[in-house]
């Protein structure tokens, strides 16, 4: 693993998944993983499999829901979509994240 690839910070995977679903509409696990990799432009070391525990976690909380569907190349896949509660959660968490980032940035840019 090269040092240019960042580990996924704890808890941010959930946020990324929610944002992806909010932006892209219903997606299967593979699609979500691909999307996150694309956006990070190879800057994130993501084992695609780790997305599934996160999906389960989000589903248990009622922020996303899932249903079986068929992919573009005719494979059976489970599609996840964000719920209304998920959107609210995303808004709240995005705000929190932005605040956290700005605080950390301010701290780091001192001196």
């Amino acid at each position: 693993m090269s040092s240019t690839e960042a580990e996924v910070p704890y808890g941010t995977l959930d946020l990324m998944v929610l944002k992806t679903l909010a932006a892209m509409g219903p997606l299967h696990g593979y699609g979500i993983a691909r999307r996150i990799e694309q956006v990070s432009d190879g800057g994130l070391a993501l084992n695609q499999g780790t997305i599934y525990p996160a999906l389960l976690r989000l589903e248990q909380k009622g922020w996303i829901k899932s249903a079986w569907g068929t992919s573009d190349n005719n494979r059976r896949a489970r599609y996840y979509s964000i719920t209304a509660a998920g959107r609210r959660q995303l808004a709240a968490e995005a705000q929190l994240w932005a605040r956290t980032v700005s605080i950390v940035n301010r701290l780091l840019s001192q001196e």
């Binding site: 084992n47 499999g49 525990p53 190349n73 489970r78």
Partner: protein, 891 residues
């Protein structure tokens, strides 16, 4: 909200575990498929594409485990896993598991059996509807003796008391049945107030019970029959209600039949209204023989009712100072009156015994777990080194304890049910004092069972678990699991448990020894009575027909003569009471000694006919017994027993001394025509061996008088004969009929039966004590064996070295036995201390035999020694047969 959602979803996962697993698997498959497609599209071969997809996806099993941890209830999953593992581990060590389950089962079983009995007697109590609301009322006379209530007092009390919804009285007396085409018979009857049955909540199965108008003086005589009598005498005749039968020579109409097993208030077979009791209305205010109880009105507190009754009693005592001066009322819940309170020392001791047994078995299991935990050190060390946390290891061990306790609890349930069944069948049907108790298991008993089982694990599996989980991984793995002396702490603990177990066993044994000794007939004369050849029966002379004492004397003399003339009969006599069947109590005065009023001297008295002792098979050590030549008109004689001579004459020869007896109270209404014995001087003409009239462990001081002096209206016959009772019985009936055809013989039993029945309480408690003792000894043996065997296992190397260096077998055994004896001695000493505390705590027991007396303790010591030897045999044999080379190289 979200938390609840997550919990629900996880709970659902537990149920749907399989489906969720399948879903994940499918998702992963589909994901890998999509990835592979993509890699293939980039130009990789299918195999390379598949491999690349797997790499990109990451560790599938890790993901699955992660996913599983998210899903469901991890604790629950882990628990099921642990339980499965525990069952597997126990299954691998069946000897240990079986021993532990057996030990726990016995302990929990005994505990639960005792609790079931306690629950039936004191908590559930008498089979009366809402028994806690029924109060029993009696009086305390000026001599602080508990008495019944007189009819007049009862009437006043019932009229004045406002706290009771109903108040009823009863008295028991046998009645003669005739006039229905059957032979005359006597049966136990109860004379009860109207509404007595509805008060206790029992209704006749057919017909009706007594109403108020039936219980008035002058009302037509009515009777209610028991199911048993209805069946045996009237062949379950469905038309019995409304028929007329003759009771005590008076025609009476049957109005109802009671359900099975309701002998209320004791063993009644037939009921009559209280007002029908002969001579009731003429009874004086100080003839206190009625038993009274009442049901509280709703919302009235017991204390309030008690205060009210006491107030009424005081008022009555003010109005009738001649009869009621210093007479007080005693008002207690009816169950407490007859069964005692949960807090009574006897019941406390009873329950404490149950706790002791369970603690002993728990300590035992703890020791077994200690021993096992040490064998498992390596396994635990490996688990720890693989990442099991200390909590997880402890949990695993506790769960093993839990599995054991569940099995033990189940075994205990079986043992308790079996024990209670045996206990129940050990009570002879015909002597059951008050109704049938319900010994079935109820929620309370079940909760107690579960509670005790759970507590046992927590208390006794916890300590071994804590110890085992503290295993020093490095030391164990480095030492190759060598069994040196590096595990001192558990050793100390298991020694402590063992010593505690011994101490408690000593307490159990010592108290059990007392029960057994009390119950066992220890008097020489008890064994002297040759009970087999004696047939006994009772006859009662109706006062209407046998008015004068001369008539009764003549009757007894003629009966004794006629019975003696039956071929095969060796000897006959009569007595006012058979051995073990009670006796009258009278005040004693000795000629030449001042009558000390403060130091009253009650003695028991029995009126007997000539040849009484000869019929019992007894010879008098001094003097002679009554003969038919002793006439009531002649000089009055008495025979005293050895206990009497010891108590009042310091064991010196009392023959020729004179005594006088006076009845302490007016004659009882059950013997209304018995004249109070005139205060005449009786000259002692003989001493008798101690025959117990009561079931008390020690013989009472007893005076025998010739039956002619008292001429009681009821007497028991004793017939010694080689003829079998079945053949003899009709011959007796025949002879009785020749004198008076209307009189029935009743209570026809062999002497053996009489004594057996009188001993049932003692017999049951002694059996219970014996069983408890056996269990305690067994548990202790198992405990000592486990600890000794384990110590031998621990010391294998040491013993091997000793043998290699030339130790003789006896020296090797010495090493092992010394340890056992040491533990035993400490345990015994501690046990004596505990026994003293026990005796002090529950000091209601026998005065004659204390558990701290040397004799029971010697017995206990001997028993423990046998136990120690038994427990050491196997380990010691194993030790001396050790092959030193193999032993030293072990591990």
């Amino acid at each position: 909200m979200t938390a609840l959602r997550v919990l629900l979803s996880r709970l659902l996962d537990v149920v749907l575990a399989r489906r969720r697993d399948a879903r994940l698997k499918e998702e992963i498959e589909s994901h890998l498929g999509l990835l592979t497609d993509e890699y293939e599209a980039r130009g990789l071969t299918p195999a390379a594409a598949r491999a690349a997809a797997r790499r990109a996806f990451g560790g599938i099993d890790q993901i699955k485990a992660d996913y599983r941890d998210q899903r469901g209830l991890p604790l629950f999953d882990a628990l099921t896993q642990d339980v499965r593992f525990a069952v597997r581990m126990l299954g691998r060590d069946r000897g240990f598991a079986a021993t532990a389950v057996l030990v726990l089962g016995l302990g929990i079983g005994v505990n639960n059996m005792l609790f079931t009995i306690l629950n039936a007697h004191t908590i559930r109590g008498l089979p009366i509807d809402r028994v806690d609301r029924v109060l029993f009322i009696s009086t305390i006379d000026d001599r602080s003796m508990e008495r019944g209530v007189s009819y007049l007092d009862f009437m006043d009390m019932r009229a004045a008391a406002k706290s009771f919804g109903a108040m009823v009285a009863f008295t028991n007396a046998p009645v003669a049945l005739a006039g229905d085409g059957h032979v005359p018979e006597r049966h136990d009857a109860s004379f009860v107030s109207a509404h007595a049955f509805s008060l206790i909540g029992t209704q006749p199965v057919s017909g009706r019970a007594f109403a108020s108008e039936d219980d008035r003086p002058g009302a037509p005589p009515l009777v209610v029959l028991s199911s048993g009598l209805w069946r045996s005498r009237y062949g379950s005749d469905s038309g019995i209600v409304g028929r007329s039968i003759v009771v005590n020579d008076i025609p009476a109409t049957v109005i109802g039949v009671m359900p099975e097993r309701s002998g209320f208030p004791s063993n009644a077979e037939i009921w009559l209204p209280l007002a029908q009791f002969p001579g009731l209305l003429a009874q004086r205010r100080d003839t206190r023989t009625l038993r009274v109880f009442g049901r509280l009105r709703d919302g009235i507190a017991i204390a309030a009712a008690r205060a009210e009754v006491e107030g009424i009693t005081d008022q009555v005592s003010g109005e009738h100072p001649d009869t009621n001066k210093n007479v007080r009322a005693r008002v207690v819940p009816i169950n407490e009156r007859f069964m005692g309170r949960l807090t009574d020392p006897a019941w406390m001791a009873f329950m404490a015994t149950g706790v002791l047994v369970v603690v002993i078995s728990g300590a035992n299991v703890a020791n077994l777990m200690f021993a096992r935990a040490i064998y498992r050190r390596r396994e635990i060390a490996i688990r720890s080194s693989l990442g099991a946390t200390r909590r997880r290891v402890m949990r695993q061990l506790l769960i093993e304890g839990g599995v054991l306790a569940s099995l033990g609890g189940l075994a205990g349930l079986g043992a308790a049910l079996a024990g209670v069944r045996v206990f129940r069948t050990a009570i002879p049907e015909n002597v059951l004092p008050y109704w049938q108790f319900d010994y079935s298991m109820d929620a309370r008993v079940f909760v107690a069972l579960v509670g005790v089982s759970v507590a046992t694990v927590f208390v006794f599996a916890l300590l071994p678990a804590v110890h085992a989980s503290r295993t020093d991984v490095v030391a164990v793995l480095k030492g190759g699991g060598r069994s040196g002396s590096d595990q001192q702490a558990p050793q100390r603990w298991s020694t402590a448990f063992l010593v505690a177990e011994f101490a408690l066993t000593v307490v159990l044994l010592a108290t059990a020894a007392v029960s057994v000794r009390i119950a066992k007939p220890t008097l020489p004369s008890d064994a002297v009575i040759d009970t087999r050849e004696i047939l006994t029966a009772t006859v009662t002379l109706p006062e209407t027909k046998y008015r004068t004492s001369q008539q009764r004397i003549d009757f007894y003399r003629r009966l004794q003569e006629r019975l003696g003339a039956i071929p095969g009969v060796l000897s006959t006599s009569v007595a006012s009471a058979l051995p073990r069947s009670g006796a009258a109590e009278e005040q004693l005065q000795i000629d030449g000694r001042p009558l000390d009023n403060d130091k009253r001297q009650p003695v028991l008295t029995v009126a007997v006919g000539p040849r009484y002792f000869a019929t019992l098979g007894l010879t008098l050590p001094r003097g002679r017994e009554f003969s038919s030549a002793d006439l009531p008109s002649g000089p009055a004689y008495a025979i005293v027993n050895d206990a009497f001579a010891r108590r009042f004459f310091n064991g010196q020869d009392p023959i020729g001394r004179r005594i006088a007896l006076t009845s302490p109270s007016p004659p009882a209404p059950s013997a209304p025509s018995a004249p109070s014995a005139p205060s005449v001087w009786l000259t002692i003409i003989g001493t008798a061996p101690d025959v117990r009239q009561r079931s008390a462990p020690a013989p009472d001081a007893l005076v025998y008088r010739l039956i002619d002096i008292t001429a009681p209206p009821s007497a028991s016959l004793l017939v010694r004969s080689r003829t079998s009772p079945e053949i003899l019985r009709p011959l007796l009936d025949e002879q009785l009929a020749a004198i008076d055809p209307t009189l029935p013989l009743y209570k026809v039993h062999t002497m053996k039966q009489v004594i057996r029945d009188s001993e049932w309480v003692g017999r049951i408690s002694s059996r219970l004590a014996t069983v408890l003792t056996l269990i305690a000894v067994m548990l202790s043996t198992v405990g000592l064996y486990a600890v000794t065997a384990h110590a031998v296992g621990q010391k294998t190397q040491e013993l091997g070295v000793r043998i290699a260096l030339g130790a003789r077998p006896m020296q090797v055994i010495g090493v092992i036995v010394r340890r056992a004896i040491f533990q035993l001695t400490v345990g015994f000493a501690a046990g004596i201390g505990c026994t003293m505390v026990w005796a002090w705590l529950f000091s209601s027991g026998s005065v004659e035999v204390k558990p701290t007396d040397p004799q029971p303790l010697m017995m206990v010591a001997a028993m423990l020694l046998v136990l120690a030897v038994t427990a050491c045999i196997v380990p010691a044999r194993r030790a001396i047969r050790l092959d030193p080379v193999a032993a030293i190289r072990r591990d």
